[in-house]
Symmetry: none
């Protein structure tokens, strides 16, 4: 079954609200094994809404509407579809009773326009609204299915999850749901990963392989349709193994987990502690780590040394490294090592990560924007340091440097570093 | 001019990401006086993309695409539009040079697929990408305008705001543009602010007053249409003065500036320095401050003390405050004061902010989730402390605590604290 989601509301076209409903419905339909080929947003205008219905009917078997079922004159979805299909509108008595009871309970006078929320297109199945007043509509006509849901997410979501899904499952008969595994990577970019997997991506059919990047991390979703989890696992196994074999140095999770969450989990599992000495990232790594509930067990704390004085005083970085004509300077491998070792010594942690560099926008110490050194001091091992030349704006460089530092720690934890 | 926004990406149809780009573009186009009649989402599929182009062309004069300009084989927007228009594709040398330089700077081998990011549809104007590699495309053909923007919001937004808007303004010719002033508030919530301004909001006509909240800050946009800045200023003045008069304790900027940027600017102006001692915010305030270019002039650094040992060792918080049956504990006004004073003493800064509290998800020290103390130590003044009971999830509490600390500093800088 092919679906199109039609979100109705001028507020969406004006950018006053984000269309989170489309995401929710897309995900829900995917889980039912229904492909969404298009999403459309149209305003509260009957003519344009009917135009959108006509186009969607030509390219989908299922039209899922959200919005336009409320009491005001702007709420036109039901009227537009009824007119398009040449059907009448009828009152759904139980919904009307519910509305009247609500007004009676509130002690307010009944507002006539609310009657509109109890209307059904002729022949439609009513969908219960447990969190609001507008009744949903589900109907089929000439081989096309229509689902009309309210706009407010707190009404739309339960209606879709309950009556809406149940109605769709009846139409689907034996269903094949989409099963997928999310693979998360660090230490490699989107295009680098694609190069490693190019033949698998080109030749994909079933399972499908969908790469995507977000906020400094790279992910791949491997998906297949199956009747149950066991069949899905069998169908996914070959592709997953092929990807695992090529990407083991970068593949840090087989679920939708951030790199910082993975690092916290691995430290916790091993009962090891971490501290951070940050310069150019300004506390970003610390901030990422401490977003994870329970991080206090393994993360002792960190020092953000934005000035040379702080580097010397708090971390014991020798003045000779920082100042003087021949000194390597704050942005150097030597300083990264001294920061990491100083931090580890000060807090007696098992690991200490250090980051120093130039996140821009201007050159510092005559060193280019994007030059970053990451140090990792580890109890009982020699301190390592990595030199990076990162691209992007200040925010991007900081984020990439932070993720790279976490990747270095992850590698060490996995015995690869 | 009527526009349609076409967001391209299978991840949108699978519900993996929310289409925030459509909102951003809708708002931006509205500000240029361009009506958006439809938004469409289509997957990474050339045939369906060309179908969507055909439909949009029939109902809009301007098609704004976002997504599908990247390096991978899935990135098809440019190819699909070129094929639809029967035009060739050419290499944009400056973009190619930039890509090659980026790879050379990184010291990595050039990955051939990145060449795709430097391609232009024949006859298109290149749009600069300051935050990424893919060049944007702007072109007109047979009375229809096309704008091709990248998918990642951090690339799309500046490209639209800069080259994209400039190109559109040329096409629009002289018109009544929307002029607006952004007012930014801290220390007050969205509904609190609305209460202060309720009559102005209810009676608004021209100028319009649009409140909105984002990421722990509250803003109001006051807008009017005018032919030039002078006329706009005259039309906006009365409304602005009315708002200023009621909100001066909270109004920290009359432009779209973050609170941290304002604080850095005010510290710089007064040549004063800042340090931070963070516990529950885990480096978030430090991270916010250091996102601002030039913050190194006033921000010396900070210490994230996630463990009691770090609080004692690094900040000199007395053990008697932290441990023992009768101790006030880490989450207390006394500890917030000791942290701020300890931090200021250690670094000899003019100001030191401290934050300690419970961001959740579970109670700590038998203290409720959301209980946070913020301390402010200032050279030559008594240390102040503020007790907050914040609501929301872990992320929300941390962000609100961070903004509240910055607000406390801003108040002090403005002589109001």
């Amino acid at each position: 079954m092919r679906a199109e989601i039609i979100a109705v509301g001028t507020e969406l076209l004006l950018g006053q609200i984000v269309n989170t409903n489309a995401q929710y419905l897309s995900r829900g339909l995917a889980e039912l094994g229904i492909d969404v080929y298009y999403q459309t947003v149209v305003g509260d205008n009957k003519e344009r809404l009917m135009h959108a219905i006509g186009i969607a009917r030509g390219r989908a078997d299922l039209l899922v509407f959200t919005g336009g079922l409320g009491p005001t004159l702007d709420d036109l979805t039901r009227d537009a579809l009824a007119e398009y299909l040449g059907r009448g509108i009828e009152l759904h008595e139980p919904s009307m009773d519910k509305i009247m009871k609500m007004f009676a309970g509130r002690g307010g006078a009944f507002i006539e326009s609310n009657r509109r929320q109890a209307l059904l297109i002729e022949g439609a199945t009513p969908l219960r609204n447990d969190t609001g007043l507008a009744v949903g509509n589900a109907l089929s006509a000439d081989g096309t299915h229509y689902l009309l849901l309210p706009g407010p997410p707190r009404e739309m979501k339960p209606m879709f999850d309950n009556d809406g899904s149940a109605w769709l499952k009846e139409r689907l008969g034996q269903s094949f749901a989409l099963h997928s595994v999310m693979l998360k990577f660090a230490g490699i970019g989107e295009s680098g990963l694609e190069d490693l997997l190019i033949d698998l991506i080109r030749e994909q059919q079933d399972p499908t392989i969908a790469p995507y990047a977000k906020e400094g991390e790279v992910a791949i979703r491997v998906s297949t349709k199956a009747t149950d989890a066991e069949e899905a696992a069998r169908k996914l196994e070959g592709t997953l193994n092929a990807i695992r074999g090529r990407t083991s140095a970068y593949l840090y999770a087989e679920e939708d987990l951030t790199l910082e969450a993975t690092v916290v989990r691995e430290l916790t599992r091993r009962q090891l502690t971490l501290t951070l000495a940050e310069s150019c990232t300004g506390g970003l790594v610390s901030e990422l780590i401490t977003t994870i509930p329970g991080s206090a067990v393994v993360y002792l704390g960190g020092i953000v040394t934005y000035s040379n004085a702080m580097k010397m005083r708090q971390l014991g970085v020798p003045e000779a490294l920082l100042e003087g004509l021949d000194a390597p300077g704050a942005i150097s491998a030597e300083t990264a090592v001294a920061m990491a070792e100083g931090m580890r010594a000060v807090a007696d942690s098992d690991f200490a990560l250090s980051i120093t560099g130039n996140a821009g926008p201007a050159a510092a110490e005559e060193k280019p924007v994007g030059l970053v050194y990451v140090g990792l001091a580890e109890r009982g091992r020699e301190t390592r340091v990595e030199k990076l030349q990162l691209s992007g704006d200040r925010e991007g460089i900081r984020l990439r440097a932070a993720k790279r530092a976490l990747y270095m720690l992850w590698q060490s934890l996995m015995g690869q570093g």
